[in-house]
Symmetry: C2
Subunit: 214 residues, 2 copies
Amino acid sequence: MVDVLALKKLALLGAIHAPVKLSTLDFAKHIQASPQTVSRRFQSLERKGLILRRHMPGGQMVSLTQKGVDLLKKEFSEYRQIFEFKAKPCRLKGRVITGLGEGQYYMSLDGYVKQFVKILGFRPFPGTLNIKLDEDGIIERRKLNGGIALHGFKSHQRTYGGGHVYPARLGRIKGAVVIPERTHYPADVLEFIAPINLREKLGLKDGDVVEVRI
Amino acid sequence: MVDVLALKKLALLGAIHAPVKLSTLDFAKHIQASPQTVSRRFQSLERKGLILRRHMPGGQMVSLTQKGVDLLKKEFSEYRQIFEFKAKPCRLKGRVITGLGEGQYYMSLDGYVKQFVKILGFRPFPGTLNIKLDEDGIIERRKLNGGIALHGFKSHQRTYGGGHVYPARLGRIKGAVVIPERTHYPADVLEFIAPINLREKLGLKDGDVVEVRI
DNA sequence: ATTACTAAAAGACGAGTAA
DNA sequence: TTTACTCGTCTTTTAGTAA
């Protein structure tokens, strides 16, 4: 939990570019802790594959692994999202359609559900609301960026693809748009997820016009 | 310690722009903790003046204070330092001179020393090595940026100014350049600090040519 | 529903110490 | 000098519960 703060400090000391020579006491002063804590923290970071260490007389050479760099990049991108995100409330309009029922299947997979809970803070209803976008919506959809990564995974000899999640609202319902990264996915359909059954709760049926705000 | 991570999450949820309605359970899912922990963390953030809260039926409105935003900005700038820092090893040459002895005085003030320890990871020797820069050095000095902020403070009815610190090396000695932000400070003198007495350790005397690498 | 208290469990910390 | 172990203490967490 607090490892990321130590990792950031290591990066600031240059361990992101090249191995840096540090003793536990050196680094202890930087993070204002005891050498014992540093020893433990180095072990923890190493166990998690975030740093590499090589012991030397008088200290150790410490460098970040790719995984460590990636973790910091993720943090960095979150801060960019906070400070560089221009308030451009994107609105996508379209009509409710019936999908192939895939959504229901995917939304029941634990590999996805866990990520949704982490990203969105709610457990999505097992099913997606499919929205056929109007012309403007198709254009807007393509412009979407800054979404939160949804990672693919393997299970039972099958591979499940990743994508991006955009917290959004449909009316006053908080939910999210899911954009799979499958290359040949139709660009005119939007999949919206929410903690509840939207069709039931909002009394939606095919052909109804809805607006999603991202 | 871990409050900053919760604060970041709150900012991502929009609390940096406007109050966001959250229950402890909602936020617990976001940070993967229990509602009890959220309750405590909200209290902690509030006590530290990082957030404002207003209780509502079904949750509470949470927003960041200016202090909270500032803390995140500081984090953000550290990440920028990691990822956007161009490797441009700056070299400044000059001759050792004797200062007015101010350095020794300032370097003995606890208000500065604590910051140096935190920033640099060592307790500086109480005294600065003053270096009169050559022409190129003066130009290079002006270009310096991305230093780590050294905050001013008040003590005994006096105000002590802030500045910037640039980790640097003199030969193989790790130390730092300190640039006070006093407006009329001579632009041709560099103050170098280190954990040791440089004059003694390196046998330096006035007029000796040295090179500082930032 | 909430929030937040208490109490018990879990985890992190630094002092002491061995290698 | 190092690193990293054990161990006692302090801190943080969650479960249970009251308001």
